[in-house]
Symmetry: none
Subunit: 409 residues, 2 copies
Amino acid sequence: MSVFTEYDLMRELHKDGDKIILLVLDGLGGLPMEADGETELEAANTPNLDRLAAEGTTGLSIPIREGIEPGSGPAHLSLFGYDPVHYEIGRGVLEALGIGFDLGPNDLAARGNFASADANGVITDRRAGRIPTEECIRLTAKLQEATGDILPGYEVFVKPVKEHRFVLVIRGEGLGGQLTETDPLQTGKKPLPVQDESGTPEGAHTAALVNKWVEAARAVLVNEPRANSLNLRGLAKDPGLPQFPDIYGLKAAAIAVYPMYKGVAQLVGMDVIHFEGDRPPHEIDALERIWDDYDFFFVHIKKTDSYGEDGNFDAKVHEIEVVDELIPRILALGPGALIVTGDHSTPAKLRKHSWHPVPALLWSPRAMPDQVQLFGERVCASGHMGVFHATHLMPQAMAHAGRLKRFGA
Amino acid sequence: MSVFTEYDLMRELHKDGDKIILLVLDGLGGLPMEADGETELEAANTPNLDRLAAEGTTGLSIPIREGIEPGSGPAHLSLFGYDPVHYEIGRGVLEALGIGFDLGPNDLAARGNFASADANGVITDRRAGRIPTEECIRLTAKLQEATGDILPGYEVFVKPVKEHRFVLVIRGEGLGGQLTETDPLQTGKKPLPVQDESGTPEGAHTAALVNKWVEAARAVLVNEPRANSLNLRGLAKDPGLPQFPDIYGLKAAAIAVYPMYKGVAQLVGMDVIHFEGDRPPHEIDALERIWDDYDFFFVHIKKTDSYGEDGNFDAKVHEIEVVDELIPRILALGPGALIVTGDHSTPAKLRKHSWHPVPALLWSPRAMPDQVQLFGERVCASGHMGVFHATHLMPQAMAHAGRLKRFGA
């Protein structure tokens, strides 16, 4: 089924109804550390999530496609109902969103890497010896100062990220195309010029602009001891995604601590909510505060993923239990549909994102209580949503919240 | 979901990793002979396969589409990750592969049927009274002799199959088109000329060549008592499938006894391994011998299907047990991912291929051990792969073998 068909169905059928909460525990899915052990979620003491699973409908969610290890950006697009294979977000855009840059429709963003080069410009270290972040801050300020206004009619922003990484944003009319990267991807080679593969006048114009900036920027760096060159990767604009509020007829709010997740929510047209604090209870404070103002609430819990990447099984278990304790406060608000799932798995055993399907539950007064009585990887395989693609969650939530009209007579 | 997108994902994301084994027990899936009985696989004593199921991830595989009874060619394409609805292999090609003909890119293959006709050429028996195979061998030799060089610039091969069936291959430059069949599909009608439906010059040229050969061949047969006419069906070339090693970045070997399976493997670019013997242990001997030389190993066990088609429940059970005993030898090689499944079901109860989903297991050190503890049709429905399309197995195997990069940032 084409993704456009699903959008069209939502656009065509949506109506007013109850409120929807999408509670995402980042990297929720896990693996047993030993063959006969439990996963993080199975090991956690989660009486409230278990109650939701028992009263609701469960399943296992495939973030992107079977076997595909998801990046965070595409995994969240899936949860919002967008097929991320059709709507790719460029790395430059994600990097800009990741540092909280307020990316506009006329902005071209690139991920930058400081690099070391020899006298002929041949790259000798693609990461400039992983210079410290303070050095990155100094260098980006220097570039901002020297190259901020060298492209007539365009604004240039050079922002530090971490170590050798920075973000370049060029703002102005008529940017676009399909742009190649400068990074030769190995040492011993010269950087490549940016080229346009779209064949459009806009693309050729943009490639020329970027190459002009790169040349000027390298000249600024020429006497730096280590970071005397740079490369650009993932040059891209906001992909202009169909807007979430239009597709679903939902006024949508995003409650998240990390810029990257706020950024993806912003790209699809959600309002990013500002609040004090950075722990799950602070996020639920914010949820309670804005409850009357929105129809849809995306609440993002980050640390489950971070602890998974650290290989810290116990800390991930504990963070799941912290969230579990907040469930009664969430239920007390009276949602028509509450989804609890992850954007992908981050098993502490693997210390990274993985392709394993993610346990998912949908609680609603209108849900079919399937035979699953607990919230966990193994049991959710028997749930009424089956093993399904994550893009199906939003239509399910819409239905359970009474927000979809009948299809056909 | 477009099949092309999945190919592109594999092409884009593959990297080096561990070795993958695809062990196919042809026609593995079965049915209970009585309502409360067990299937062949459930009845078999399979401690090793049960262990793999307990430690690995399981599911039920749909070979083509829900409810579709698979032919062997398309069913194997699915296992290799090709949607067989998009990549049809012509019947002539399958028939040529089935007799072990070494089909090249310039070859047009057709399935031939000897037929009986009256004095006016009207077909009176579409199978020439099912002449014995020895008769078929005599007739094809006669045709080879008389028509082998009647098409200037082209080689003609006429090969016997079985009873009234033979294979015609025309070899040379510029063959193609979309060619109709000569068989009127009922007695009392004259054969049809071959026509091209592609509208290409190549198609018109090829149709004319084939019609010239058919006319000459019928003239050769005119005084035969029964097989005095013939028809051609499924005229096709090697469809030029995307090559498995390119899609997955895998150097791939096929270990199979029957020509048809070697042929399909060859069409997708696998190396067909020659070995002595024709029983499963001989195939594992070959697997051990070539282990260091390849990344991917397709091992095909035929007799499970043959016994199913014979309606021989017990012999099918026994053949499954023969394979089970070989599992420790396979595991000892240290694969990163081992798939065990069938290309389709061949229940002894039905004595033919069937559409029923096929139990599948994926064993890997990186697998989620789902709640399924045995290998069998009923229990696999609760596995973490769910009820899935067979084309998903290859991406799953790639992921579990550590052979896929992350999708998106």
